[in-house]
Subunit: 306 residues, 2 copies
């Protein structure tokens, strides 16, 4: 595949940025990739493992001459990072991001960018429970979705070029408007994460009572929640604070349903429970047919050795 | 390994029974295994795939001369099955079960068994989202826990023999009393399952609004919930109805915590959220160190092909 951007700058060097670097290298998609992280430790690690062609000590140097700048920082600091770099951007470059919330990022970052810079917010729906510069891998985006959320009147060639980059990194690309994105993600990601965090927190409280039994017997279902609840705390704090309305709306619906099921348990209404559980089974089938998960039992996890 | 029981009878031929059969064959633990399922379709499938040395058309014939009878049916019908078989049990045999709830099963089944039969309730903490006679595999119990819940004054030799069987099938065996079992499982399994069912139900409602986007973009976190919510509806209906008090208690605590986190989101209390999410991260580490889950990103799922 031909080089799509001569120079790419990655701001923030966590799971997504490091996976983008390896995926761009795999596909030969970028001529030169520079990287910056706020923490000196992270920059040292990046240099040690060969993450980025050049790791810079300042944002100004990182974005200099870049054709594409990718903001890979928590949603809560997108605005301050954009303010810091705005004066150093190459005219005509594209600025994008990988944040999990879009309306808030557009409101924060958009007004700070100079005339002539193409701002194309994006969100790759891919991740793992690990974080930091060592957690990335080239295959992370393979067959995952990347949603582009361009603001009105964005240059079509600039969009098409960014689309080609994500396509080259293995993703399926779609466009969506910001409000709709934030609602869909509240359902598929933000509310489930908060619920998993909550259940794990409850179990953690009880763990002190039951002397590690919660950990020992976690394979009965609970351990799946703990994977999600091991995700990066800063990233997720910012997601909930910046997608507040949609998340709270979905959590409100969730609580209503939970109360209805609790009532069915209390009243012994087995038919209600059975009907509900039969309906939810179908959605799993849809996800497997859509190629978004494996049908292997327990996700194909390997059993441990005795 | 030497044969532990000359004849084993499996009542019900779903995921657990079929996995027990293959695990017993792998270890050479049983001389002869007979099996029974209420549905003629299930019996036909079992015969077709060689599940059990003999598939019988009646419970009476299945349990005849058996040294061990294993009830592998939903918790809600344990009592009626026990009543049906009680008159045909071999004197001195052991009756066990694999139900996810123990106090209720003991109350249902215990009084129905004749004098001289050893009743040793059990619960292997292992499963997948699949069900039925084709879903079993020999490795299901490897390095998983099996909890034995013997009632007071149970014959020590009978316990030791059943323990050896589970050990031979790959499990780690522990003993626990019924009330404690039901509370621990409410935390590690029953409440998480109800929560997953609820979230998937909410998303299913919204799916109609958003035209399959929930399925399409499920990899953002939601798909993990759908695996749990694809579990057998009859089994889970019975679990909630028979472990009502402990499940409702844990769900009550869950709702309290969820409301506290929702309030933190609404008030913009980022510190509360960050502290909570940092704490839950630690429990994942404990589970991995205990050998109860893999540290591979996303459970080591294979990425799909584009």
């Amino acid at each position: 595949m031909p080089v799509i951007y001569e120079k790419v700058a990655l701001i923030g060097l966590g799971l997504i940025a490091s996976s983008m670097f390896w995926a761009m290298k795999r596909g030969g998609l970028a001529g030169h990739v520079s990287g910056f992280a706020r923490s000196a430790d992270t920059r040292d690690t990046a240099r040690e493992i060969g993450l980025c062609d050049e790791v810079c000590d300042s944002i100004a140097k990182t974005v200099k001459d870049a054709d594409l700048v990718v903001l890979c920082v928590p949603v809560g600091v997108m605005g301050s990072v954009a303010a810091e770099m705005a004066g150093y951007l190459k005219p005509g470059c594209t600025v994008t991001d990988v944040g999990s919330v879009k309306a808030d990022v557009i409101a924060q970052v958009g007004p700070l960018l100079p005339e002539g810079v193409h701002f194309i917010p994006a969100h790759p729906l891919a991740g793992t429970e690990h974080s930091g510069p060592r957690s990335g891998f080239a295959e992370l985006f393979d067959n995952r979705w990347c949603l582009l959320v361009p603001v009105p009147d964005t240059n079509a060639n600039a969009i098409s070029r960014l689309r080609n980059l994500w396509d080259g990194m293995g993703a399926n690309v779609e466009e969506m408007d910001a409000e709709h994105h934030d609602l869909v993600l509240a359902v598929t990601s933000h509310a489930p994460h908060l619920i998993a965090y909550t259940m794990v927190g409850v179990a953690d409280d009880l763990r002190r009572v039951t002397d590690s039994e919660v950990i020992k017997y976690s394979a009965a279902g609970f351990r799946d929640f703990t994977r999600i609840a091991a995700s990066d705390p800063t990233m997720w704090r910012d997601v909930f604070l910046t997608n507040k309305d949609a998340t709270l709306e979905i959590l409100g619906r969730f609580t209503e349903e939970l109360f209805a099921l609790q009532r069915a348990i209390r009243m012994g209404d087995g038919d209600h429970l059975h009907d509900y559980f039969t309906r939810t089974r179908a959605i799993r089938r849809g996800i497997i047919e859509a190629g978004q998960d494996t049908d292997a039992p327990n996700f194909g996890r390997q059993p441990g050795n005795k």
